[in-house]
Symmetry: C2
Subunit: 195 residues, 2 copies
DNA sequence: CGAGCGCTTGATTGAGTTCAAAAATCGTGG
DNA sequence: CCACGATTTTTGAACTCAATCAAGCGCTCG
């Protein structure tokens, strides 16, 4: 099942099937059951993940035991914990599987290593990183400026398909509000629509 | 005054003085007065900035006219508005100068262009982008989990020198609280230290 | 020197949290 | 396939942290 990642590359780079297959040939697949831990805070691990199918989440746990979701990663997304995989430090965050999930494990030396086969991949990588930053800046802007309701409306616009798959309390955790508050926000929105 | 950026590159890459000077030779310097606009939301502009001296800020303005600071950029920092400079879209944010500031203007084609002179620069760029993401994730985590006081304490630890240079109301805007609240937080902290 | 801006302080308000408990939904084993 | 326990969502009531509104002070800079 490396095809998906090969396709992902082919869609974004002007390369042949052969190049794509050669590029991904050294990679491994890994499967996680719903609820299974992928990475623990404090771990030292050098892999990034491309999600073939399923759904991962990256989150922190604060002193009071509350979880805070940094990022969701559904199929065709990359998920990387930078502290451990780029900077060789203990991971700041946890990663686990929200659904049964299949990932391509991308080792630290993958991108440098295949630049001989597919030189353009470095620039693709740069573009994807810029894109991540762009989205995270928008999220920061949301967290700085928006009310609970605005955050939720923004979320369902941006991730309509996640809204159905992710339990509400996790969406609340991603938005920085309590599950109770999100429940009330949804109730209010429902009322507004019936007048 | 391109030396600073040349030094910046030399500190991070195993290159000669000559290579560094050659790399930066095509770049231009620009100066901004305190308070001057560098980029308006909605602008289409392809440059990134390396700050030689002074201090820039990147911010949004919401429907109620309130400013929200996405990022500060003091000397030796890069500041890039990605919508406009990477994705050719109207800028989502404003940039202006908090102090008199001198920047190196880095055109869109700079990094691709000099990869012939200094091939390692692409990988440096990737590393810096990962680092940005890392910091932004930590910030998101703060905004999701921390009280006004915790945010402020975190800020003065992370940016001790900015604490003195940036007006308080801007720090408040960066932290996602009102100037009044920050004033009270500081008062409380001062009291705690005198017992 | 005075107008404007930034910071402080006080009083009040309000959005969202907390705590508690009921209702709904999910999943798993018999 | 149903039943039961666990988890998730909803609802209610009290509370709290930070926002808002308003006023006063002090500094700077034109």
């Amino acid at each position: 099942m490396l095809d998906k990642f090969a396709n992902y590359l082919k869609e974004r780079l002007a390369i042949t099937d052969e190049q794509a297959m050669q590029a991904v040939s050294c990679l491994n697949i890994k499967k996680y059951k719903k609820g299974q831990k992928v990475l623990n805070a404090g771990d030292l691990r050098s892999d990034a993940f491309f999600v073939n199918s399923g759904l991962l989440r990256c989150f922190s746990i604060d002193e009071k035991g509350k979880e805070h979701i940094i990022q969701f990663a559904p199929e065709n997304w990359m998920l990387t914990e930078r502290d451990s995989s780029v900077f060789n430090m203990p991971s700041a965050f946890y990663i686990d599987a929200i659904e049964d999930t299949e990932v391509v494990v991308i080792k630290k030396d993958f991108f440098p290593g295949i630049k001989n086969i597919v030189p353009e991949i470095l620039e693709l990588n740069i573009l994807m990183l810029h894109n991540s930053i762009r989205f995270m800046q928008k999220r920061i802007n949301m967290l700085l400026s928006a009310s609970a309701e605005e955050r939720y409306l923004n979320f369902i616009n941006l991730y309509p398909n996640l809204t159905l798959r992710v339990p509400q309390w996790m969406i609340a955790s991603y938005l920085g509000i309590t599950p109770e508050s999100l429940s009330r926000v949804r109730k209010d929105l429902a009322n507004k629509h019936f007048r």
